[in-house]
């Protein structure tokens, strides 16, 4: 019974390698389907479309790690982008700040309701989604009436290119994504997020203020969604009320494919990034393949299922569970 020294970093997860393999295979398959795919332009395109999803899924990962979920991310992204668009006249910086403030408020409300008043996360965020839909619909006719064109800076950020295959939004992602990875692995808050998801009661007894951590998580999630919404709006140039609706399910799927447990306590952002990349490449593949919508949906579902299964298989082989 020799005491092994505690390691700083977890072993490189074999299941992550499998995800990388799956991603590579998908990219190759795309290359076979369409030669245009293996180009710098396409790399840039892939990054461009993945970044917002990866950001929203990052927030989703945080919530899921605590054992929660945020079904209001799509509407949060939309609301933040809408406000930024409508307030473009206030000046770019202020408009962006106002958009982020929307995210902050939504996150706070979600977080306080879930952490302090113990409303079920699924219900709370579903309700929040309905509330935002209602408010935005009314708002678009009244207090949020106006042109919804994004400021030039935001357009550049959402769709512009720094150099070669590197879009500006990648910079945003590197910054926030890096912060997420670092935050989850190397900060006290990150540890506490895992702790809460792993065993809420134990965390509490160990002196962790569970509620504050949870509020922080939902605020971070909403802020990430707000940033993503603003980027999506920037890419499209203008904003509408359904802006980010299609990002909800993929945000959950990316996290789960990337190995984050829906029950909380295990997973991480690296996996989610791979999950998001896989989903975008898959999406591109299905867009480029000229197949029937019916076939497309069946394919999409099947592939997501198979991916999740492969992931589980490999992570089990590692731990030797039955």
């Amino acid at each position: 019974m020799t005491a092994v020294r505690a390691r700083d970093w977890p072993k490189v997860d074999r299941s992550l390698l499998v995800l990388v393999g799956v991603l590579a295979a998908l990219v190759l398959a795309n290359g076979v389907i369409d030669q245009g795919f293996l180009s710098a332009a396409q790399l840039r395109n892939t990054l461009l479309v993945t970044v917002p999803l990866a950001l929203i899924a990052g927030g989703q990962t945080l919530c899921m790690l605590t054992g929660g979920i945020d079904l209001s991310v799509a509407m949060t992204a939309t609301a933040a982008a809408y406000v930024t668009g409508v307030r473009a006249a206030d000046g770019t910086a202020l408009a962006i700040l106002e958009g982020l403030a929307v995210g902050l408020v939504i996150g706070l409300v979600n977080g306080v309701a879930i952490a302090v008043f113990r409303v079920n996360a699924l219900i709370m965020t579903l309700g929040m989604s309905a509330i935002l839909t209602g408010l935005l619909t009314v708002g678009s006719q009244t207090f949020l009436k106006g042109a919804t064109r994004m400021p030039e800076f935001v357009r550049e950020l959402g769709g512009g290119t720094i150099v070669g295959p590197i879009p500006w939004n990648l910079l945003v992602w590197l910054l926030l994504g890096g912060l997420l990875i670092f935050g989850l692995r190397r900060t006290g808050l990150g540890r506490l997020i895992y702790a809460i998801g792993g065993n809420r009661r134990a965390a509490r007894l160990a002196g962790v203020r569970v509620a504050s951590v949870e509020v922080a998580v939902y605020v971070a999630c909403a802020l990430l969604a707000a940033v993503a919404g603003i980027l999506i709006g920037g890419r499209g140039g203008s904003v509408d009320l359904q802006l980010a609706g299609s990002y909800l399910l993929p945000s959950v799927a990316a996290a789960v494919i990337g190995g984050t447990s829906i029950l909380g306590g295990s997973g991480g952002y690296t996996g989610t990034i791979l999950g998001a990349l896989i989903l975008s490449v898959l999406d591109t593949m299905l867009n480029v393949l000229n197949v029937d919508e019916a076939v497309k949906q069946v394919l999409y579902g099947t592939i997501v299922l198979v991916l999740a299964w492969v992931y589980i298989r490999t992570s089990r082989a590692r731990t030797g569970d039955r």
Binding site: L71, A113, F117, R118, V119, N120, L122, I123, M124, L126, G127, M128, S129, A130, I131, L132, T133, G134, L135, T137, V138, Q141, L249, V252, A253, V256, I257, S261, I262, L263, D292, E293, A294, V295, K296, Q297, V298, L299, Y300, G301, T302, V304, L305, A308, W309, I312, R316
Partner: protein, 324 residues
């Protein structure tokens, strides 16, 4: 001995308290509705028939959640069976329609069983399997019926929905399967196994519950109910509609109704009456707002607030109940 009996009665009361609260909330809503816009048999018929499909989906979701799972594909399954039955029933006689309905129900159970099997065998979490199968079922629905259409026999519609302003047939149509499944859940060992599985998977296994069988059973019941939901939609609208959005909305509503009706999302707890009543309550909220002339855009927001508040208050009551 006296004390333990009292404790047990207390805990029984607590277990039924949620269903009671849901019922009370529902009756309150009915009263408000009756006051602001009338609640005659025409209204009741509207309520019961238009929520029939959703009612089945909620029962399906309820059984699955009690068994410790969650099914994000119930809406898609409903859409699939709606399209399938509408396509097959178009222009057929009443008898043939009944046969098709029976076949669809069976197919639904099989589809559900398959889902359960995949979940149990693959070890992939329920939520992701059903997210994926949801896409598959929506795709199949489009394949079966590329555009809205299809049809059904008038007698079939009358059988399911009743004629005139009757509202008993759909009520019976919901209650009979509901009661049968309630009996299966509460009074048979298979049903007990489902509760056990949802309560604590590991302990259930140690207690000798055949986990695979319980899980497959729960999903099979769910699939069967989703097929009934699809058939109800066919009867109600007289045709099929392959658009996936309706399915997703229905799925989310079923989850909300299950929680509002007192089933814990962690599994193992709750009954079936609460969720059905919750579906009706969710129907009444916009109806009341319509009658009161509330801007429907706010209506959506109000509905969100109401759902959150109900769960909040319910949670507080539950917590206080536990302390004493």
């Amino acid at each position: 001995m006296q004390a333990t009996t009292m404790a047990a009665t207390g805990s029984m009361a607590r277990r039924q308290a949620w269903t009671g609260a849901t019922l009370l909330a529902f009756l309150l809503l009915v009263a408000v509705k009756a006051q602001s816009g009338g609640f005659d048999s025409f209204e009741i018929q509207t309520m019961v028939t238009s929520t029939l499909a959703l009612g089945y989906l909620t029962l399906a979701q309820g059984v699955i959640v009690i068994g410790g799972g969650i099914d994000l594909s119930v809406g898609a399954q409903m859409v699939l069976f709606n399209c399938l039955s509408a396509r097959l029933m178009e222009g057929r006689s009443f008898g043939t329609c009944l046969l098709i309905a029976a076949g669809a129900t069976l197919a639904g159970a099989l589809l559900g069983a398959l889902t359960g099997l995949v979940i149990a065998r693959s070890g992939v979490p329920d939520i992701i399997v059903t997210l994926a199968t949801g896409f598959v079922w929506s795709g199949l629905a489009l394949f079966v019926l590329p555009t809205p259409g299809g049809g059904t026999a008038l007698e079939f519609q009358t059988l399911v929905l009743g004629s005139g302003t009757e509202f008993w047939p759909p009520l019976v149509g919901l209650a009979v399967p509901g009661l049968i499944i309630w009996y299966v859940l509460r009074r048979t060992s298979a049903g007990l196994g489902i509760y056990a599985l949802g309560s604590d998977r590991q302990a259930a296994f140690l207690a000798g519950v055949p986990a695979l069988r319980a899980q497959v059973t729960a999903y099979a019941i769910g699939g069967l109910l989703c097929a009934l939901g699809g058939l109800a939609a066919t009867a109600f609208t007289g045709g099929g509609d392959p658009r996936a959005t309706a399915g997703m909305t229905a799925t989310l509503t079923s989850v909300a109704a299950v929680v509002l009706g007192g089933i814990a999302l962690t599994g193992g707890v709750g009954g079936l009456l609460g969720p059905v009543v919750a579906v009706w309550s969710l129907y009444l909220i916009p109806a009341i707002m319509l009658a009161r002339g509330v801007d429907p855009a706010y209506g959506e927001a109000v509905k969100g607030v109401v759902i959150v508040l109900v769960v909040l208050i319910g949670g507080l009551l539950r917590r206080n109940g536990r302390k004493t």
